[in-house]
């Protein structure tokens, strides 16, 4: 026998009320926790892939689309730009480095991106097997791609035209896997990397000769040398079909737009949590009224006022602990479902379900408020007139 056991059994006496309080709190905590996890995964994904990319040069269109397509590879590109025009920008004194990208094909839904070694170096990608691609049609496979498709060094495959569609297969151009990358938890995990010349070769018609000045690429990831680049480069490219977008600003705008929805959901979740705390209060208060005689009885058997108070506090604590724990479990289930959708759609891995610092805070707060909700009727219990209560029945 213990206070804990007694509190546990008391909660079990009113199963419906206890279940309702638990579900309400679990739902509220679960929703807040899921939002926290989603925001964390989103910001981690953004931060990991944005590293040191100050500007993205690409075809005119939506700047956000330019960023999403060329930094995160989750959207279609805005179009192509001429390599010679792009090189002018890369060679600008305000620009320290420019990483050219060209793509338009996929293998089983994973993008084949043509670039140079600096792209892999930029994300700190290391080889797990094999070597870096040098010759045309050699590819280095990202960790996630290798894991999903089973591609390994020495394997060959055909690419399909488009970024997801697998119907228009270039059966005349064979790619060979020369290397597999170790996991970097960045965008390169879900890409197949080859040279830009390979991308051109795939799309050149048989015997077609294309003037080098007409060669096109999709985008260039730029790192600035001088902060004035942000103001200067747009003027440099004004007369071309190109634009530059600032990832930091576009992502900030995106998260702000997301934020409105997130804040609405957060408000709803907090409201549900408030209702659940009210439910705990009602549950404990109702128990107090119904069990006034029991509490008086405990006092006659030697329990101090503090013991009775502790019992009610434990009931509230158990409810809030159970609800908050269930909530965190629910949020993990929610995240895993969401991760599967993200995985299917965008190839990003969102399955990290570790407990965030903010979730510990949420957990602690839920238990604290639950205890407070129980403390109010608990204080009333301290004032019970034992003699009168026992004489009333």
């Amino acid at each position: 026998m213990s206070w804990f056991y007694m509190a546990w059994r008391n909660l079990g006496l009113k199963k419906l009320q206890t279940t309702l309080s638990l579900i309400l709190l679990a739902f509220g905590v679960g929703l807040v926790s899921l939002l926290m996890l989603t925001e964390k995964q989103l910001s981690d994904t953004f931060d990991r892939n944005i590293q040191d990319i100050d500007l993205v040069l690409g075809a005119k269109g939506s700047p956000l689309q330019l960023i999403l397509a060329n930094v995160y590879h989750v959207d279609a590109p805005t179009g192509n730009i001429r390599l010679v025009d792009a090189q002018k920008v890369i060679r600008h004194p305000y620009i320290e480095e420019g990483i050219p990208l060209a793509y338009g094909d996929n293998y089983r839904g994973f993008r084949i991106v043509g670039s140079d070694e600096s792209y892999l170096e930029h994300y700190g990608a290391a080889l797990e097997n094999g070597s870096i691609n040098k010759a045309p049609f050699e590819v280095v496979v990202g960790h996630k791609v290798a894991e999903t498709t089973g591609l390994k060094v020495g394997d060959t495959f055909f690419s399909a035209h488009g970024l997801q569609d697998e119907t228009d297969v270039h059966t005349d151009k064979t790619f060979t896997v020369v290397g597999v990358l170790a996991e970097s938890r960045s965008v390169v995990d879900q890409l197949l990397h080859c040279t830009i010349e390979t991308i051109w070769a795939v799309h050149d018609g048989p015997g077609e000769i294309i003037d080098e000045s007409e060669r096109e690429i999709t985008a260039v990831l730029l790192k600035k040398r001088n902060p004035l680049a942000v103001l200067t480069i747009p003027n440099v490219i004004r007369e071309t079909n190109m634009q530059v977008a600032l990832p930091a600003i576009e992502i900030n705008r995106l998260t702000q737009n997301f934020g409105i929805g997130m804040n609405t959901l957060r408000a709803i979740a907090l409201l549900i949590m408030l209702i659940s705390f009210a439910s705990i209060f009602i549950s404990v208060y109702d128990n107090l009224l119904a069990r006034k005689y029991e509490l008086a009885l405990l006092r006659t058997m030697g329990s101090s006022r503090r013991g009775v108070f502790l019992l009610l506090l434990l009931e509230g604590g158990l409810l809030s602990f159970g609800g908050a724990t269930l909530g965190l479990i629910f949020s993990r289930i929610g995240l895993l479902v969401l991760a599967q959708l993200i995985q299917d759609k965008f190839r990003y891995d969102w399955s990290s379900i570790g407990l965030l610092h903010s979730e510990w805070m949420l957990f602690g707060m839920a238990i604290f408020v639950g205890l407070m909700a129980a403390a109010i009727p608990g204080i009333s219990a301290l004032k019970i007139d034992i003699s009168r209560t026992l004489s009333e029945k």
Binding site: G302, G307, L390, S391
Partner: protein, 214 residues
Amino acid sequence: MIACNDIAFQYHTDSPVLSFPNLDCSKGGKLLLLGNSGCGKTTLLHLMCGLLRPRQGKIEVQGQDLAALKGKDLDRFRGEHFGIIFQQSHFIQSLSVLENLAVPHFLLGQSFPKTKALELLESLGISHKAQAKPQALSVGEQQRASIARALIHQPSIVLADEPTSALDDDSTAAVISLLEEQCAFAGASLIVVTHDQRLKSRYNNRVELKPSAS
């Protein structure tokens, strides 16, 4: 063992003062407090175990003046020295009968003698209800279960408030005999507060309470 002298009690300043005759019950002794409804039987019982404080007079239990005890010391003293059987049976509804019997020991921080508890329930004829919830028991069974709970921790004094009010003649005799046996076995004093005239002949040491107001 327990002595009450010059006890007077008043619920509120504007309510009548209840005066009680002097009482004395020795260790292992028996005392019957007989009186009709409204004469303050339950009030006196609550005064004796410290649930109420007298306006005047002194209550001594095993040489301890109850007025000198306060707060948790008084709570513990009550738990340790008294076993109380109420007119209406009160239980912790979420616990089984056996678990209810474990509560006094838990509150006193003592280990629960489960075998002894089962034997006690057996002697009261309700061992088959040990695992049942109190609400599943009949009124008579509930009364027996509350007797078991009052005796389980071997208190010095057992206070029984109308213990036989819900029982028929046969059960009354059986329950009172058992109560007396158990108290005698434990060396506990038994104070029975009742209006049940059937018990009058069983007790030599008895006090008849009369309504008093001043």
